[in-house]
Symmetry: C2
Subunit: 181 residues, 2 copies
Amino acid sequence: MSKSIKIIGISGSLREDSVNKKLLERAEDFLPENASFEYVDYKQVPVFNEDEENPLPEVVANFKEKVESADIVLFATPQYNGSFPGVLKNGIDWLTRPGGNNSISGKVAGIVGATPGNSGTIQAQLHLREVLSHLNVHVPPQPRVLVSSAGDLFDEHDNLVLPEAEVNRYEKLISKLIELV
Amino acid sequence: MSKSIKIIGISGSLREDSVNKKLLERAEDFLPENASFEYVDYKQVPVFNEDEENPLPEVVANFKEKVESADIVLFATPQYNGSFPGVLKNGIDWLTRPGGNNSISGKVAGIVGATPGNSGTIQAQLHLREVLSHLNVHVPPQPRVLVSSAGDLFDEHDNLVLPEAEVNRYEKLISKLIELV
């Protein structure tokens, strides 16, 4: 039997009905039997202040443990103001604190993103990719899952219906991530 | 008499003894008589969640008003994980909410940065510059104030003593920002 693989999903949008959360959930469609997926809620993680990292807030310690327990971290990000959300960068900043305690180093990560706009979140994804490379996280260069005009992609039951090309890319991305573990 | 100019300072580090806060304070050394400087504390601004922007939290509304009242916004940023802090991006994200209410559009801004490391915060500054350009903020390309090895720059009274070249660049930057208003 192949080894079991744990994938966690982190969204750059904290909104309850976030399209990026729905995009993360779609990863479950592509999982082999030995892989599991868990969505990680980090909305209680406070803004980072070095004066408040000792002791580490309990929500932060829990968030770090979730990431440490995973083989693969799947990020879904909207684009806010030409980059990925401050909320997500703030969560990642905590993952590297206190100094010398990088909870994400050496992991495999994938990036996908959806936006109501027309950029496909590419600028957000490129910034996030750069930060992750700084943290010694392995992010495959391809394929890229870029979902534009996301507001038009819901069916009458409020399900996210992705264009076929993105479904194919998403499936390939998940396979690639699993190969890299 | 020349028109009065209001400069506000925003730090990427929320730490009480932050070297970037001290770097902001040094701007006062270079001000002409018609200019004033105010440090803006935004540490109570929560992580952004679109579900919580209506009504706008009072701390956020106050932060937006401070920025709206300024002619020049001076940012001092450390570098966290290959970019500027999530905390600062989160503050900027709020400045553009709710949609259509960009509190910083059209302003003049300067970027300076200090780090105990050896990168001078250049990567953080370039990412911040890109985000600000996305928000229609005028950031002069030069001079760049990049302070490395900041931990070694304190005198016996815990004052930040900048290398002369950085002092000169900082003074020129402030002049340039005032010209652009």
